[in-house]
């Protein structure tokens, strides 16, 4: 098994699926000649040519809609958002177009499209470039929302997303692109809608996805030194949410902290907490806790940004809290 970056894992997934199906094409800003704003599409123009690796003007709503129209006509577009922040000018095409076409056409028009790109905060990019928007998209029936944490998951899930016949919102972690992990040499896919246990444990459950898995694993390591065993659960897909393994974990540990980079109000964690109290109320020995990005636009100043971002320290405090340790 090779150890590769998250970026290269995504690149492999794109390359393999472009080779596999001539109806698959990649479209977005700087995906071709520039080789990708984050180099995820490096080398693809050279292999597949400008017909299939399509550089666009800066026109997100326009090319998002071109993708939806192309999908109506039988193609399988991959639409790159340079970052998910820019998807807000394209959201009409995603929500009113891609998500609803199958339903409002009475099942006639499938939209097999992937909208992908980096989400979440990086470093001091300030309010307009640091958002985690998964809760926005996960609330929409008709969309599937995927947010992988590791190179293995990123590659396997992107391949599944491209083959899926529904519109998939594929959120990559901007600060995960350089992270490394093992990826099999042979072809594989990771199915959409399957939760993964990233670290087994017995005392408390931490639910986290995308780059928050990294934060959770760091906190778990520290807590282990204090004799506290944390189970880290990664849903990987936020819609559909595979609730089973989360419930199973909570029934074992009886305590749960949900970690989320985005805002707390109406976040994905709020939904997961709701589902857990419905299904496992009697199993909980403490109220479910949430650690989230703070409820403000992202500030630029480094110290303030650090305050906003969920950290291992904040997660550790929350885990100790649900264990009634302090």
């Amino acid at each position: 098994m090779a150890v590769i970056t998250y970026r290269d894992a995504l690149n492999q997934a794109l390359r393999e699926e472009l080779r596999r199906d001539p109806n698959v094409f990649l479209m977005g800003e700087e995906v071709g000649v520039y080789q990708g704003a984050y180099k995820v599409s490096k080398g693809l123009l050279q292999e597949f040519g400008p017909q299939r690796i399509v550089d666009t003007p800066i026109t997100e709503e326009g090319f998002a809609g071109v993708g939806v129209g192309a999908a109506m006509a039988g193609l399988r577009p991959i639409i790159e958002m340079m970052t998910w922040n820019f998807s807000l000018v394209a959201i009409d095409q995603i929500v009113n177009g891609a998500a609803k076409m199958l339903y409002m056409s009475g099942g006639q028009f499938r939209i097999p499209i992937v909208f992908r790109g980096p989400g979440g905060a990086a470093h001091q990019l300030a309010a307009q470039h640091s958002q985690s928007l998964e809760a926005w998209y996960a609330s929409v029936p008709g969309l599937k929302v995927v947010a992988p944490a590791t190179p293995y998951d990123a590659k396997g899930l992107l391949k599944s997303a491209i083959r899926d016949d529904d519109p998939v919102i594929f959120m990559e972690g901007e600060t995960l692109y350089g992270s490394k992990g093992e990826v099999p040499d042979e072809e594989y896919t990771v199915p959409i809608g399957v939760t993964d246990v990233k670290r087994p444990g017995t005392d408390a459950t931490v639910v986290a996805w995308s780059k928050m898995v990294t934060v959770a694993l760091k906190a778990a390591e520290t807590l282990a030194a204090d004799g506290i065993s944390v189970e880290v659960i990664d849903p990987r897909t936020l819609r559909p949410l595979d609730e089973g393994p989360i419930l199973e974990s909570v029934r074992k540990t009886n305590r749960c902290v949900i970690l989320e980079e985005g805002w707390p109000y109406a976040g994905v964690g709020a939904q997961i907490a709701f589902q857990l109290q419905q299904a496992a109320f009697g199993d909980l020995d403490a109220p479910i806790a949430r650690v989230t990005g703070l409820d403000v636009p992202m500030p630029y100043a480094k110290n303030l940004e650090h305050m906003v971002m969920p950290s291992p320290a904040r997660l550790i405090a929350a885990v100790r809290d649900v264990l009634y340790l302090d």
Partner: protein, 346 residues
Amino acid sequence: MATPANPDHVGRQLAATPKAQLIDMLYQMLLGRRYEEKCAEMYALQKIGGFCHLYIGQEAVAIGAMSTLRPDDLVITAYREHVHALVKGCDPGRVMAELFGRRDGVSRGKGGSMHLFDREKGMLGGHGIVGGHIPLATGTAFAAKYQKQDTVTLCFFGEAAVNIGTFHESLNMAALWKLPVVYIVENNRFGMGTAIERSSAIYDVAQRACAYDMASETVDGMDVLAVRETIGRAVDLARRESLPTLIEARCYRFMGHSMSDPVHGHYRTKEEVEGQKQQDPIKQYFEYLTAAGLADQALLEELDRKARAVTEQAVQFAEASPEPSAGELYQDVYAEPYGPYTRSEQ
């Protein structure tokens, strides 16, 4: 608004078009008129709910434009689209069933007046967000070029949509990438109640194409043969050279914006509407045909009777169609469903 008919183009079109098609165009205009009149009646009876936008007065645009198409060409339009669906070949009964919210509707009762879809007929909706479907048409044209097909996409929208970003984004990409699409502005002079003079910095909508170095033409949208000739050129350009065109068809709607808007209201006078009705596109076309000896009053009455009968049958079909079952509620949210969406039909 309508300019006097150009005898040259009328003569050319009458000579170049098979008589059967010329007569069928008259029939389609009559069907569109009678069908929409019936829709108004059904709306008043609350058989049709929601928003309902009628096409009365604008028939020459859809019928002239689509008379130039092949069956495998695509049409995508906004929410004033009942007649577009009929002309593209959708079954009148299934369209009415859709308006009634019934199971046999073209969109199985889930779309309604604003979302008429028929994949087999190349009818791609029916879209309710002003300008939202213009990129979709750009995308179907992109797909045709990608797949090396010579199909053409016609994209209809009102003049109010030329002020929204998607219009400009789409025209830019279509011109940049040379896509086989014809954008047809149905300029009926009012975006709901706002006159074009109050919404657009440029009165001549077709001029907007200059910004994208795109071919453009303005045509009298009350004259079905003028529309046919102009759109025919644009369709040829799209099919043969894979180039887009922007067409402004100047027309007028005889009804309110929707069924909840009175015919005149605050934004136009009764006299203006009555004056425009003198330019009735059906009357004008009938006069062209009569002058050329291709139609007479008896034929008109026969076609009108047929249009009324087909409309009546459509209502009967819709009445007889069942409501969608509760089990269909969760169907077709996902092509690959999960959890609650996998419920089987009850």
